[in-house]
């Protein structure tokens, strides 16, 4: 099954070309030009991974990351940035980013990370389901 990705960037030209190339690789891609719009889309739709620019107008990358992780902790977020400093990378990873890539990024490398992100998300969802079942069994099975 193909990966479903939400691509978030304030550069419309970048969104258009990236989504075209990702779709050509079999991915299902939706786009948002701000973190606020991405958060709104997450309320109604599920994705395997989010590929998001770190610096956008309005809500910044760190705040968006925090909000998304609160809303959907299992969601894997790959950040794209002009410059990946060590401090920025550490901060993003602490909040729960899956990875951080520098622009211009290699699409094949990004596609591999998206595949990996989907696998990690599925593992997390399986774990969450197991815990739920365990919890139900404990409550009703004595």
């Amino acid at each position: 099954m193909s990966e479903k990705v939400l691509l978030v960037d304030d550069e419309k030209d970048f969104l258009d070309i990236m989504s075209e190339r990702m779709q050509a690789r079999g991915m299902t891609v939706k786009t948002a030009d701000s973190a606020d719009k991405a958060l709104a889309m997450l309320e109604n739709e599920s994705f395997d991974a989010i590929v998001m620019d770190f610096k956008m107008p309005g809500m910044d990358g760190i705040q968006a990351l925090k909000n998304i992780k609160t809303q959907k902790p299992e969601l894997q977020i790959i950040l794209l940035t002009g410059y990946a400093t060590v401090e920025k990378t550490v901060e993003a990873m602490k909040i729960g980013a899956t990875d951080l890539l520098e622009k211009p990024a290699d699409l094949e490398a990004l596609a591999a990370k998206i595949k990996q992100a989907k696998a990690e998300k599925m593992l997390l969802v399986e774990k969450q389901t197991e815990e739920k079942i365990k919890d139900i069994l404990q409550r009703f099975g004595g």
Binding site: P57, G58, P104
Partner: protein, 224 residues
């Protein structure tokens, strides 16, 4: 490079760093789009090589146009950045304020956009010049933009996030006015000693705009 002993202070270096970071970030974005367009051409070539689908000439022309658009954006940005970088080479001279506002606005577009502020610069009806060091005047205009963005960030929610810059000439001399939709924050503008020192270096002072909300940077005439 001419030596006019115009070494910027630590604050000036910070200003230079802030604009450099914004410009290089923009450049990375232009490169990313060019990179993806080149990649798309590679994808199309690969498909044409491996199958019966030839490259669509219209599609190739469209990609070429998109690459050209990004190269033009990058070229414009580099030209502006080069002018900015050379602003320190000039001794005190008659500087066109409108030209300087456009230069700072162009280079700090990303920073202003991050505050979701919409900026309009209206054309000056008469040439608006001031005797100053270019770098200091650029710094002062940038500080004014930063302050306006901060004011609008903290303004009541229904405030329009729009700034209009216009140029005037009050009876005492040329001025740059920053007009926006709130009266808050006016009393603490340029309170910081570093900002005061910057105003002094450019021989300007701040006054509340005569009509509407906002402030003007006006030429100061020193008493003989």
């Amino acid at each position: 490079m001419p030596n006019h002993d115009l070494s910027p202070d630590r604050n000036g270096v910070r200003f230079f760093g802030t604009l450099s970071a914004a410009v290089t970030h923009d450049m990375k974005n232009f490169l990313a789009i060019i990179n993806e367009n080149a990649g798309l051409l590679g994808d199309l070539a690969g498909r044409a090589r491996n199958g019966p689908v030839p490259i669509d000439p219209q599609k190739a022309a469209l990609i070429s146009e998109k690459i050209r658009k990004q190269v033009n954006r990058a070229d414009g940005m580099i030209k502006q950045f080069n002018r900015f970088s050379h602003s320190m080479d000039h001794a005190q001279e008659a500087v066109d304020m409108e030209e300087m506002v456009h230069l700072v606005a162009g280079l700090s577009e990303r920073i202003i956009r991050h505050h979701e502020v919409f900026l309009t610069v209206t054309a000056a009806s008469v040439p608006c010049r001031i005797q100053a060091h270019r770098f200091d005047l650029l710094h002062l205009i940038f500080r004014a933009f930063e302050m306006v963005c901060e004011i609008l960030d903290n303004a009541p929610e229904d405030t329009r996030k729009e700034v209009t810059v216009n140029f005037g000439s009050d009876p005492m001399g040329p001025e740059i006015c920053f007009m926006y939709d709130t009266d808050t924050g006016w009393d603490t503008l340029f309170d910081d000693p570093k900002d005061r020192a910057l105003l002094d270096r450019v021989n300007m002072h701040v006054k509340k705009a005569g009509t509407g909300s906002g402030f003007c940077l006006c030429k100061t005439f020193k008493k003989q």
